[in-house]
Structure formats: C-alpha cells, structure tokens
Point group: C2
Chain length 413, copies 2
C-alpha cells in the first residue's frame, strides 16, 4: 500500500516518541572503560573524602588561636614539634604553642585547626618558627568529608561520566561501576542513483555520502557504529538487510527512500520488519520532512532523508540526542550548554506549523553576542553545511525571525 | 642536582614551546577510518560536484523563458516531452515549449535551464503541463560544479575531518585519504601517598585520581591512550617506566612529583631520559605552576601537577590543544568557537605576571549573555570542578576582572 502524503507531526511529538524507547541495559565495567558512558545507578560515597583533614598548602599546621594578632611587624613564635610525612598520618598531636611542618596534602595532626603557608613564616633555628599572619580556624585545610561525606549520594543514575566525574569515582575507590551499555547504531544507505565512494561515477549517479557522514556523526554521539553499506532500492534486499541490522543494533539509521516516490521501498521494508509499528512518517520540520521512526520490539528504526544535507541536519538535531537517550543520558534532549546565544544578522521567513533549522555562520564581534549570519545557497549543496557553524531553530509557532533578534545556536558537530 | 625554585615562564611561551613539537607522520587510511582525524595534504576536487546540473525539487525541467509572464491567473502551457529517471541522464534535450518531468536530484536535460516545482503546475492530460509561475533562469537547479569545481582545492592540510567534511570527501570519491596518525598518549601517575583505585585506603593515602582523569581527558582529544599505571616515587622505577613509555607514545603525561619537594623524582627521571632537554619547568599559571615540558628527540614528556584539580585544569587548558596539535590540527591553540561569551558575576582578583584560570558555573538568563559565577571553595576540592561548567582566563597583565565585565568561557570537557 503506497501513500501519497506524509502525515507530518510536530518535532516535539517526535521527541516524545523517541523518548519512549528504553535505554540500553546496565552492565558493570572497570572504571578504565567507563569514561563518557552513563551511570545506571546512583553512586554514594563509601567513605569520607578526604578521609582526614588535609593541608591545602606547604607550611605549618598549628592552632589558629596561637596566631591571633600576629602580623609582619609583630610576628608570633611557635615551637616546631615535628614534621609530617605526606603518606603517613602524624602519630602525635599538637599542644598550644606548637606547630608541625606539613606538605600539601598532608594529614593534620590531632589538635591542629589551620595551616600557615610557608611564605608567611620563617624558621628561626631548628625548633622555632616565626609566624607573620593571623589565621582563622580551618584556613588552608580541606576538611574531612568536605568533597563527599560517607553515605552521601555523589552522582545520580543518568549522569554522563565526564572527566571530572571519573576523577571523583577514582577518588572514592569505585573501581567498578554500573553503566548503560554503549549504544550500537547501524547505518544503511539506499537509493538506485547512489554508488559506493570508491566506484567511478557518471552523470545521474551520486556517491554514498550518507553512509560515511551518518557513521561519523553516530560515532560522535558515543555509539559503536556498524556499517551495512549501500543496499539497492529493492524491497527484498532492504528487508533482509534491515532484519539483520536489527539483530545486531539498538537503532538502525537508514537513509534514502523515505520519501513517497515510486522507488522508495524503505517504508515498506520498515513496515514488514517492524510489524507495522511506524510511529512517525513525516515531520513538520525543514529540512527533514521525510523522516520515519518505527519500533521493532524495543529497538528503533529511523528512516532519514536521502538528501545528504537534510539527513545530516536531522542527525544533528534529533539523532545525536536520541543516541544519548538510548545510552541512558537523563537529559539528552534538554536545551543546555550545547547552545549559545547570538544575534541574528537578517530576517528569516518561515512557515507557521513547521520547525525550521537554518544554517548560520558565526561572526565574533569585539563585544556582546556574536552575529549569526544565515548561510546563503541552495539547501542541497554540501557547501551550505561546510560554511555553517551551527543551526538556528525557528519554532513551529513562528512565521519567521527578525534581524537583531537574539537566537540560540546549536553548534554543528 | 635539586632545585629550590621554579623558573616560571608565561603561558604564551609554554604554548610556543608546545607548538615546536612536530605532528605525527602522515598515513593513508580508508575514509571509514578518517573521521575526526586531521588531513595531512590538501584535497582538490577530481571532478565537478555535482557532475551535472541537477534538480533541487520534484517538478518539471524547462526553459525559463517559456515561463515568463505565467501566473496563477494567467498560466502557460508546455508539452510534456518525457520523464527523467533519477539514476540516468536524459538522452534527449528540450526544445522551446517543451518540459520534462524530473525528480529531486535528477539531471537536467540539454536545453533546460530551470525546474518548476510540482506545486506550481498541473498535468492537463498525458502531454500537457500547466505552468503557474514565472521562473528566472537556473531556478531550483544545482549547477554543475557548484559545490566544487574540478581541480579546486576543497580542504586544506591541517583541517580536522568533521562529519560535514567526511561527507564532502565521500561525495568527491576520496575513498582513501592522507591523514596524520592518531596521537598515542601515555599516562603515568606517581606519588608515595597515592594508591590504586581498587585498593583500600587509610589516612595519609589518596587514590590514583590522575591516571583515570587524565586518560579520560586524553581520550577526548582524540588520542589513543596507553596507561602505565601508578609508579612509586623512586628514581630508577620512574626512569625505567618513562623510557618504556617513550618507545610506545608520542607524548607522555606524568602526574605528581613535578614540584620541588624532596621526594619529587619526576624531574630527575625526565632529565635522564630526555638528556637534559627540559624546556619548561614552572608556569606563570594558577593552577598549574609545577608543570614540566621536556623533549626526548621529537617526543614530548609533560610533568603535570600531582594535585588532582590542578592537573585537570592544565590538561584542559594546554594538553587538549597540544594533543590536537600533535595530531596535525593547524589551529589547535586558536581561540575559536570553543569559547563563549558571558558576563562575570563578581570581581576576581589575580596577580599580575600570572595567568589565572578560574572555575565558573554558568547561569542562563532570559536574554543577553549568560552569567559566569566563580565557583567558591578550596581549589584542591574535586567539587569545585564538579560544580564548574567552564574556565575563565585572567590574563597575565591583569590584576583582576570586574563584576559585569564580559569574559570568554572555555567549557570544561
């Protein structure tokens, strides 16, 4: 059964559909392998971090009240009781009037409540230290449990393990962590006018840009990419390849053949393999109208436009967050620091009822927000993407944006 | 020979030193493997892209002058001569008064110079098309060579192959490309107070945060990371491990032991292995003062601060661009779209003669630039990095920045 028209739905509804797919299952991995994956469980501190009060500086541990009133011109004097080794907690405490030499990171001895930096002292022989500054209690001290108190939840399920968080898990002794398995994304390209990149071309043929660009983009999102290459636009071939890909992948990205032309067998192949569960066929989005989303049990099949620049825009806008969502990220579709403000350089018209994504290049200015300059040129040209730094969204309910208006730019990745 | 003081140099001089290291050699790889690597040679188009004039839309190819004067209320009529197959160039041309049905991407027939969208036409029986719009020449046509003309340089050596550029190379049939080999970065951690993450801890010991955080960060920069684990702070052990790492890596990142304390053997190990070629020992940078850069022939050895947050800041600010530079990126240290403007929420004091990198969290506002709020807390605490979205640089020649001032924020990666 061939359809003549798309049943377009708004972008926000498509995002709701995509958010309905479950994340990959959890598995436990060594911390070495966990970087940039997403936590599947909350993590609580199993001990205080730091484990003891520690010095932030090289200097002398002391009782803060013993420094009260000390200045450059009116220094105080303390007895140097002992020196602290960086990797051993001190075995004796401090009495009033005493201090102990301490390196950065050293444990404070019992009785000490501050550390004076070596720059504000002078050793007056082997047993006396001149103190030239008054310190409030806990000056230059990292308190026991200040980074994390034992039992405290430090990271939540759904958090991506960036570098800083990996460091925190290391500090807490989490050598094994429960994360969502890496998403496996398959890429299939189709179209009778499309040929492999290594093949010679002739008028009427175009090379398989999508396999390469979509695989590169999917890789950026953290997915493991499986390439199924270029498949002829024939229903049995497409159905077979898609069924195979679904046994090996969490999401299959097909490009080409998602339009309503007579040679487009993608939709029918998806119908067969997904038992008819086509959730989206047509998006109120430009570019990106001929986008399909279907479900094969818990797995997703996405039909992307065959037009190469449209396919890349849909990937940037919807598929990168979708892969992050499948990988367990709690905030995959959230507008965050992945967008930055700019001032639009000229009017852009749009249609109400459709979300437009306009390519813009950015121009730094001496001060204030950068200028977002819409890229000119036919939208099918690759050079319109090559010139662009990002995309500006014109919302569904807007007939256009005005020059001078502030916009949020999504950087192209 | 032990030194008492660092010989600090400005950050910009350190960058010059780092830029003096040569990039990795070029090698030829399949396009599938080239994503996010850096071109080692310019790439010129070996043919026109597109190869022929192609239609941007579904519609009818025609001679623009045959539509002149046509409107909704005063349409014109053309003879439908033939239909064009998407993957075959038309074998006949158009005469005056004729049109040919054409799909998006189809090759224009000889004699045609525009395409009218199907929405502006009506088929009046099998041989006549009503045309309801006047078109200027080349309307809805991607011109032969418009994306790239044969012989034209399309990408330069030193360019990172992002998704869009991979797509361009695919379109041009570049199935093999000359790129710089991926950088191999070794990570060594040291310090007698440091223990493996999987080991129990006790007061006086801290876990090996740096091995994990630095490996995760180096991986982000595109490097292949080799972990050499935790080495005791003993000169023969450090020397041996560093010598091994240098046989396997382009750059070795050592953390800990780069200070001037008595147990710091890193510098001496580097001196031995690098035949004394220590290029930087101390940076006028906070945090990051105890940073070492040395050369072992063409390879780099970097001693990072042992303090875990300092080590991560130096990695973010200097080592990510350095690894990109080693990987061939022409603009690795350039200030670009990796920084975004914000307004500082409060004054920050600094010292002239030193470049400070201040952790800030960002607050979106309803309009205008976001607010950069300096993160409070002792700089050694991991939570100061966990709370931060980015770093603000206070330049060497500045005594501080003022509340309300515009700053550029580098996002933490």
């Amino acid at each position: 059964m061939k359809e003549t028209f798309f049943q377009v739905i708004p972008v926000r509804e498509c995002i709701q559909v995509l958010q309905g797919f479950p994340p990959t299952p959890a598995l436990t991995v060594d911390l070495e392998e966990a970087a940039h994956m997403v936590l599947a469980e909350d993590v609580a501190a199993s001990e205080d971090l730091p484990l003891t009060h520690r010095s932030c500086v090289d200097g002398y541990a002391l009782k803060a009240r013993d420094t009260f009133g000390a200045t450059e011109s009116n220094p105080g004097y303390l007895d140097l009781a002992f020196a602290i080794d960086i990797h051993k907690p001190p075995d004796s405490g401090l009495k009033s009037g005493q201090c102990a030499k301490i390196p950065t990171g050293g444990c404070l001895p019992e009785g000490a409540d501050a550390v004076i930096m070596v720059e504000h002292t002078l050793e007056m022989g082997p047993n006396t230290v001149e103190v030239r500054k008054s310190l409030p209690p806990w000056e230059n001290v990292m308190l026991r449990g200040e980074d994390a108190a034992k039992g405290q939840r430090v990271l939540s399920a759904g958090t991506r393990l960036n570098t800083v968080r990996i460091g925190l898990l290391a500090a807490l002794g989490c050598s094994r962590v429960s994360v969502h398995r890496r998403v496996v994304a398959g890429v299939i390209s189709t179209g009778d006018e499309v040929v492999e990149v290594s093949r010679p071309t002739r008028p009427g043929l175009v090379r398989d840009v999508n396999s390469h660009a979509l695989a590169a983009l999917a890789g950026l999102s953290g997915a493991k990419v499986r390439r199924y290459g270029l498949v002829r636009d024939e229903l049995p071939l497409l159905t077979e390849k898609l069924a195979l890909a679904l046994t090996e992948c969490d999401v299959v990205l097909m490009s080409g053949g998602s339009s309503v032309g007579s040679r487009d067998h993608t939709l029918e192949a998806i119908r067969r393999v997904c038992s008819g569960r086509v959730l989206v066929h047509g998006l109120a989005m430009s570019p990106g109208k001929p986008t399909i989303v279907a479900a094969a049990r818990d797995k997703a099949v996405v039909g992307l436009p065959g037009q190469v620049t449209s396919a890349q825009v849909v990937m940037q806008v919807l598929m990168l967050p979708f892969v992050a969502h499948l990988g367990g990220a709690g905030d995959a579709f959230r507008v965050g620091w992945n967008r930055f403000p700019a001032i639009l350089s000229r009017n852009i018209a749009s249609c109400q009822g459709r979300t437009d994504f306009v390519r813009v290049s950015l121009e730094h200015r001496d001060s204030g927000l950068p200028l977002a300059v819409p890229v000119q040129g036919k939208s099918g040209l690759l050079k319109t993407l090559l010139k662009a730094d990002g995309l500006v969204e014109i919302p569904e309910n807007s007939a256009g944006l005005n020059a001078g208006q502030e916009v949020l730019v999504r950087p192209l990745r």
